[in-house]
Symmetry: C2
Subunit: 206 residues, 2 copies
Amino acid sequence: MTLAQPEARPYHHGDLSRALVEAARRILETDGPAALSLRAVAREAGVSPAAPYHHFKDKGQLLDAVAHEGWVALDAALMKARQDSDDDRRRMTSLGVAYVTFARDNPALYRVMYDCSRDKDALPDQMKEEGAYCQVRNTIAHAAGDGVSEIDLELATIAAWCAGHGLAEMSGFKQFESLKALLGGEEAFLKAVFDHLGMFAKFDRG
Amino acid sequence: MTLAQPEARPYHHGDLSRALVEAARRILETDGPAALSLRAVAREAGVSPAAPYHHFKDKGQLLDAVAHEGWVALDAALMKARQDSDDDRRRMTSLGVAYVTFARDNPALYRVMYDCSRDKDALPDQMKEEGAYCQVRNTIAHAAGDGVSEIDLELATIAAWCAGHGLAEMSGFKQFESLKALLGGEEAFLKAVFDHLGMFAKFDRG
DNA sequence: CGATCCATCTGAACAACGCTTAGATAACAT
DNA sequence: ATGTTATCTAAGCGTTGTTCAGATGGATCG
């Protein structure tokens, strides 16, 4: 894997599409979503403004690639959170906390992920197959046991996902800062809200 | 394209700031958020591209004004929903449905409302005083009775708001269309998800 | 009534943007 | 070696947000 070496770049870059996505993520982290222009990405990657068009149809398609990396990273974060807990309910909560934490740690990336989804009126397909959504679904299924219908399972997953996404976008507002401080930090706040959502009310009869 | 009134406008418009906000909302509804440029708004209002700068510091401030109108409209929608129900729990659900319905009926406006909030890392102040947030809070307070702490009340309101916002943004994705059809339409879907969120689990001991 | 002030609006300009086109360059295949 | 194809550059188009000097006209005060 040829890493981006400072070695004077040849006329043909070698792996420009990869370099462009990385440049985009770098810009996102440092300068925010507003600074993410195609020209800035090209500049950061050290190529002409027209070069990206040989690898991506337009700006949207580059953002799609960035978003895809985001979803993969989110999958990994959720997977890790799922393995760190043993109790069913605790596992569900830590899944939610991990989700929101990811969104709060990568706000620009998270925004790109959902903006891309919104433009296509659909979440990425990969999610339904083996991605983050499926992880939540499986966790709920395991917690709920056998007696739960397919529809209820789907609804519970959607409910949990909506709660996570909503909290991910809302928890950054400074109106909630005093409450966060009162509860002892961000994570305690997240747990408290998740607790009030009572996402397990439907299945929790133990 | 949509021409302004042929009535020869005087050099001084009279109430341009108002006209600009209305023009912006018109563009939002018909052509979507991507078409909402300051120049397009000026064009729609029949005025030069520089004219808006005598009424708004920059594009963001015009969007703020548009967003403000959106919050006022949302307040009204929630108020109406709150009055249409008598039972506490039913009132809460219909509040949630009204919220999501507003977002789904005015997607571009709703997006502007939250984009503006995100840029300022804060929801509009008016919300805390007498706006939509307060309505949700009061509804929950009434449903929960007297024995509920201030913190729990705040947490429950945040939880409900997060759920509403999350569902508002997620319910448009086409992955959920088959489930919506299965449940008998959008509203049934919303109610089912809210039911699974069990936002009342904490207070509903009756 | 007339002169003046000042908010308002225009026209022209700037830099930056997304994107296209024509042409240069390098890798690869035959 | 030759031709083909993928990749990149340079230049340019139309658009955007924003600024600025100057035109306009309603309001205020003599």
